[in-house]
Homo-oligomer: 484 residues x 2
């Protein structure tokens, strides 16, 4: 049975994650250490993420382009913090066409440098700004400890790169794209995320400020699910991205970059999955509705399959991604479990009694067992009803994730002792007043594996309170958590 | 003026090609030798090619997946012809995370090996077949002489990889995908192509047979625009892709692979472009309609812009990719040339007289000057008329390309002397009876740069004729041409 091979989350969350990925055929290890094969069912989720983002990027005036994957090593070295941050993670091509290269080529870990170099050529005047570019690409970071989707040596992502005349416009863009990520997470993936600024030590190498969307996974850990960086003039100065302003003076552009990667597939798995397996948000589900016919006798089969085919055609014509499970030699019970494990939002069951009543049973994946079932759904209503129910599953998944996050977010913590005990006993997000410095933050990270996930955007600027660590008064709120 | 910087095709076709790419901002050289930057206007054409192919792949039952870009060197070496073919072109990663690697990793030049290795894991029984996979990816081949889109070190492509129970099914798939390419070229790109089999020496390294679509460029040269390979058991045996047949016996799968790359953007440029610049097939044009308002006095401006905005909204709502050119400081004449150079299929001109008549002038890019203009097109008819005219431009471009190919295809050649003189004096495609062997073919290639483009599928099996080279009787027809 499909579900018997998935470790319960409470027993071992990491094994549960790997079990789900294997059983639902999302991805698998490859012969190249740290690189995964993304299987069709997993890739279809990534395609849904891509489509949702690409549409929103274009609607906000961005254009796609493509830049070389190989970057001269000297480029990476031009921005001091950038090289410091990425140097330990680089893959280098040293031989091409059978010959040793004069200068090694870096396989891009991110493209600020090569794109910065190109922007310097494209931008001459304020009329060339803003320049709003996005790239869909693969990138490589030499990671030692990898985990499918969450951290792999090669991964797929989009990286937006923009240039603006002023700091204000660049910061506005940085926040706009953070908002786009927040919206995609909420409206497409049914994942509530916390947008906020990263602390100095968690900043992107070379950024003035980094913003993030943080999501809570099913074990209470945080997953950084997308980031947006205001790069100030750091890369403009390194790559000489200058323009003649309308005041007739040469000035440096202000740039941004922002990215979401295949890591987000991991967020979808862990934000929603349960002990039966995946639970996919309807907009991202490769299969939104699975139809399982049920019969015993040959006479029943003809009737049941007749109705099942009719329902299949109705839904297909309504633009729904529907699958009729006509596999032989498998019991309906096995099929139920199988589609549950694969996270299909709605299952339609059709038996001989349903044929008589010209109705079907619909099971909603976000509610367990009987609770999720709706009996006697009239066949003629399905064209309208199924889209409604898909929206209901979307809303249900979102609400459950939000409730779970709220239940596992702890505030009112006023001293370090309570902070540590809450983390150990309850886990989840610790929402605290925070006035510590970089060293304090590093110490907490090293001693307790708790990191500042972000300064949540919507919680800043309220009444002051006491930092649990330094005892200082502050109005800065931080979220600490264990994180992937 | 935009057009003054484009070299006429008759003067220097290669320079014309590079001029068009530069002026229309399709791509540019990068600081990494042999790698190009694909600019937004060029990338949008690639996106149209992708969308057209991806839709057709899915309609024929294929699924997308993603495999690692890095391949252990030992994998590449497993299939003897494959390593021989690709060995001189490999880029190798030898350093990762600051350390020398034990086994160098090859940056994929194509993925038969890593996908073959994976297929061996996925395929156990005849029930797992056919396995129909496609990948969108970047690949690297260490080329010494590069030319934007046509031949670059890194390029983007799709590579389909499928496995089948029998040779017949695999060959059927190979031909089906060749047909998909033919259809995309004809229906989306307005390019007539000649489908056919490659000669032995032009075969993909490791294939049993290679099929191609060959298109004629504006200088009469051929461009191989897509290929589809029947790989027989070559890769199954190298990677042990075996299955238990319904006869209960272990057998090797038969595999195929097929690909179209960013090279196809080059085909679009060269199949249709003229001395004014690009001429884009409407389905692939990032901008299908450009509206140019014309006025002299401020009073006229208000009226003209009012109508221009109305037309813009009408077309936008009709789902047409439309651009209102409201750039200041540029004359209408400059704008006309600019949009012509960028290959926009339809230009709408709106002046004060048009406002009075509530009509517009439409210029069709595939017909020069006055001939292409339609005067007095009623504004209220545009929602219907523009889609019709876009189809007319598509059909016109296709017909012109087909006529050009027919005019430049020479047959009835019965001796080598005529063959060489026709090639030198007239160029184009030489459609001949061919009974030569591999050595003959290599000699003609080395001495005269003429290669067998394909044995055209639709011309085989007819009456016999005399080979112009060997004098032997044969029913095999071949097309020889200069090629990119």
């Amino acid at each position: 049975m499909a579900d018997s091979t998935i470790t319960p989350r409470s027993e071992d969350y990491s094994r549960w994650y790997l079990d789900v990925i294997r059983e639902a055929q999302l991805a698998e290890n490859s012969p190249v250490r740290g690189c995964m094969v993304i299987r069709p069912y997993g890739y279809a989720i990534w395609e849904a993420i891509k489509d949702g983002l690409d549409r929103r990027f274009k609607a906000t005036g961005h254009q796609n382009a493509y830049f070389p994957m190989f970057i001269p090593y000297s480029f990476i070295a031009k921005e001091a913090e950038h090289i410091e941050g990425f140097s330990p993670e680089l893959a280098m091509v040293t031989v091409g066409g059978g010959k040793e290269l004069e200068e090694p080529l870096v396989v891009r870990p991110t493209s600020e440098t090569i794109i910065g170099h190109t922007f310097a050529r494209w931008i001459q005047s304020y009329r060339d700004l803003p320049l709003l570019i996005n790239q869909w690409a693969n990138v490589v970071r030499w990671e030692m400890r990898t985990r499918p989707f969450l951290r792999t040596m090669e991964f797929l992502w989009q990286e937006g790169h923009t240039a603006h005349a002023t700091a204000e416009e660049a910061i506005e863009e940085t926040m706009q794209m953070l908002g786009v990520y927040e919206e995609m997470a909420r409206d497409d993936a049914a994942i509530p995320v916390i947008p906020g600024e990263k602390s100095a030590i968690e900043r992107f190498a070379g950024a003035v400020s980094t913003y993030t969307i943080e999501a809570m996974m099913g074990n209470g850990w945080a997953l950084q699910s997308g980031t947006s960086h205001y790069l100030g003039e750091n890369f403009s100065r390194a790559f000489d991205i200058k323009f003649l302003g309308d005041n007739n003076e040469q000035q440096y552009a202000h740039t941004t970059s922002w990215g979401v990667s295949t890591r987000f597939v991991g967020a979808v798995i862990m934000a929603h999955g349960d002990d039966q397996g995946l639970r996919l948000p309807p907009k991202m589900a490769p299969i939104q509705v699975a139809i399982v016919p049920i019969w015993r006798k040959a006479k029943e089969e003809a009737e049941v399959m007749g109705l099942a085919n009719e329902v299949f055609q109705t839904l297909k014509q309504a633009g729904i991604r529907v699958k009729l499970d006509d596999r032989e030699q498998l019991s309906p019970g096995y099929k139920f479990n199988d589609w549950e494990m694969r996270g299909v939002p709605l299952r339609i069951e059709i038996g001989p009694r349903d044929v008589k009543q010209n109705s079907v049973v619909v099971a909603r994946r976000h509610l367990p067992g009987k609770e999720g079932k709706i009996f006697g759904v009239a066949v003629e209503s399905l064209g309208d009803r199924i889209p409604e129910l898909l929206q209901e599953v979307h809303d249900g998944l979102y609400e459950q994730a939000l409730n779970f996050r709220n239940e596992n977010t702890h505030d009112g913590i006023e001293d370090f002792d309570t902070f540590i005990h809450t983390a150990q006993d309850k886990g989840g997000f610790l929402k605290v007043y925070w006035a510590g410095n970089d060293e304090d933050e590093v110490k907490i990270k090293e001693d307790h594996k708790l990191t500042v996930r972000c300064y949540p955007r919507d919680d800043q600027g309220g009444p002051k309170g006491r930092c649990f660590y330094t005892g200082k008064e502050t109005d800065r709120i931080a979220i600490f958590a264990r994180a992937y």
